[in-house]
Structures are given as structure tokens and as C-alpha cells.
Point group: C2
């Protein structure tokens, strides 16, 4: 099995954060970049400028480390969402467009690997994995946020529009990994806007 060898970009050696933070930041980067099963705990610890013992003093197992990474990814997206609603306060329609535009730019980045939580769900099919419930809860919340926003923006059928937009962007993010950023994903903003417009009262 070929395995990528450049696991040592010394990511997030940032100044001197406490080891736990460094480990988490490094793990998120490596898991996202190379896949979860492709990266061993030793590689994570080393890239974080520490060692396996310290890692296991903060996380009871690799699975738990993965779950915590997912929690951070989810939190990051939540904060990102809050930013949007602050920048366009009181204008849900503008929030929708801004969100769509952000998705468009991330999909256009060739280095982008899509949604970390979706990737983890694909890579970890085991129902008992501690990361799975994090992923599911996050995705449910994300869809509900979207529906709420569609409602506030004045959609005729907010739930339907939310589902449409949700599938559209999930498709775009995963599609950019097989067909690249110049494939169908490149038109995600245009498509989303048409969808939104068609639902306005």
C-alpha cells in the first residue's frame, strides 16, 4: 500500500501552545490532508513537536482523538456561520448568498479536500466509532440552520429549499475531489442562486 511520506510539514508548531492544542491542530491537518487511517498516532505526535506518551495523556485512544478533531471541525464551521450572520445581520437573504459564495471559493481551491466530517463519515463506516455521532449531530444542525435561514429569507418551502441547497453543496464539495475544481463544482454558486430565486415568494 503506497503511503504518502510528507507527514512532517511541522504544522502548528505555533509559538508554544500547550501540547494538547498542538496535537489537535496537527491531527486535524494531517487527518484532513491524508486521511484518518493513513496517519498514525506517532506521526501526529512527532509533527506536533511532541511524542506518543504525551498524546495518550490527553486522549484515551486514537478514536477519541479523531472524535475531538471532528468536534473542533464542527465548532469551526459554527463560528464561521456566526460570522456570516453578524456581517449580514438582519438580512438572511444576503447570508444565504454569502454562504454560497464561501462554498464556491473553497470548492475552487485545488488544495481543498471537501468537508472533513463527510470525509470521515466515508472513511469510518463503523457505527460504533465515537466520531460518527459527532458527524451526524453536526450535519443535522447544519441542515436545520440552513432551513431556518431559508425560512427567514422568505422561501416558499424553506425545508425543500434547504434540502436542495444542502445536496447541491455536498455534491459540489465531494465532486471537486474527483472531477477537480473546474468540473461541475465550479458552477455551484450560479446554481444555488437560481435555486434560491426560484423559491422566493
Amino acid at each position: 500500500m503506497s503511503t504518502s511520506s510528507d507527514l512532517s510539514p511541522a504544522c502548528a508548531e505555533a509559538a508554544k501552545l500547550p501540547p494538547r492544542e498542538r496535537i489537535l491542530a496537527t491531527a486535524r491537518e494531517l487527518f484532513y490532508r491524508h486521511g484518518i487511517r493513513a496517519v498514525g498516532v506517532e506521526a501526529v505526535a512527532e509533527a506536533a513537536g511532541t511524542n506518543k506518551m504525551t498524546l495518550y495523556r490527553h486522549f484515551s485512544s486514537k478514536d477519541e482523538l479523531v472524535a475531538e478533531c471532528m468536534r473542533q471541525f464542527a465548532g469551526e464551521v459554527d463560528g464561521w456561520w456566526e460570522n456570516l450572520s453578524r456581517e449580514h445581520a438582519g438580512n438572511p437573504r444576503a447570508q444565504l448568498s454569502a454562504w454560497l459564495r464561501d462554498v464556491g471559493t473553497s470548492v475552487a481551491d485545488p488544495a481543498d479536500r471537501g468537508c472533513a466530517l463527510v470525509n470521515a463519515a466515508v472513511e469510518l463506516p463503523e457505527k460504533e466509532h465515537p466520531a460518527r455521532c459527532v458527524i451526524e449531530q453536526f450535519k443535522i444542525a447544519q441542515r436545520n440552520n440552513l432551513a431556518q435561514l431559508c425560512e427567514a429569507a422568505g422561501a416558499k418551502d424553506a425545508n425543500l429549499l434547504a434540502d436542495e441547497l444542502f445536496l447541491l453543496i455536498e455534491g459540489a464539495r465531494v465532486c471537486s475531489q474527483s472531477l477537480g475544481p473546474k468540473g461541475p463544482s465550479s458552477r455551484v454558486v450560479q446554481m444555488g442562486e437560481v435555486l434560491i430565486a426560484s423559491h422566493m415568494k
Copy 2:
């Protein structure tokens, strides 16, 4: 790392196909069910009712076995497509609907894990992996088939409709893995039909 233990469903011990066929069928099943990195070559060989030596007499490496599995997956989908066009010969619009309906039923199956090639693309980010070009070529061909079909069905902008449908179904298939078959994916047929209708001259 938790690892699923039921890798021995003795799949495709079917009668007595030649070992190569048994290995491929078993590998496809196990890789799809549990993920590629999660399944070792020994487990594949054993579940196929043979052994590692025989496997390596037919495939030069695990990566090559994976690539061949992807080729078979792609071929399967191609054949499936040809069936549709035979069943609804001369009626491209009906082919579109039938294809959409098939996607809908596969997404509704809780055991479904989405598109094997997309999953592999997510799990194997390394550009040099022999499976990647198979995946990319297949996805390009699939999108082009779709565009051709949209054109034949009389779409105003066949390429746009094809991209929309493509993202929609990629989104649905991946979404059913995190939000389950009762999530947004459950409405993929309805959404697709609306999209198609809106593009008709």
C-alpha cells in the same frame, strides 16, 4: 483504532469461479463495505477462499488490486446505464427519469454506502495512486453521458442541466451516509424531476 471484525462473510465463494474473479468480487465487497485501508490483503484472500500467494500471482500489489476493483465498479455502472438506454430506447427523457429513480432507490437503502469510486477518491488522496485516474476518467465519462442524454432529451442548456443533476446525485449519495436515507437524500427524485422540467424547451 477500532476495526470491524466481520470481514468473513465468505462473499462470492460462488460455485467455483476462477480465483482471480473470486478475489475481485470479494475485494470489491469488502473494500466497499469497510473501506480500502481498513481491509488487508490477507483478509481479502481468505474471504475469497484462497490465500495471499494466489492473490499476488494475479495482482502485483494491493494498489493494483484496488485499481482493478475500481475498473470493475465503473464497468458495472456502464452496463447499468446501457440497460437503461435499452429499456427506454429512443426516449431519452424516460431514460433520465429511470436513472433518477434508480438513484433514489439505492439512496433509500440503509446498507448503501454511496458511490464506490467517490468513496475511494476520498480515502485515497494520493495523486499517484493507480486508482485515481480510473476514478477521474469514469466520472468524466459519466458526466458526459449525462450531458448527452440531457441534450437528447431536449434540454435548453444540456451542460448546465447535466452539472446540476450530477451535483444533486453526488450530494444525495454522500449525504445518505451522514444523515441517513431519511434525510435530504430522500427527496432526490422529486428535486431531480423539477430540475429537468425547468430545463425543457
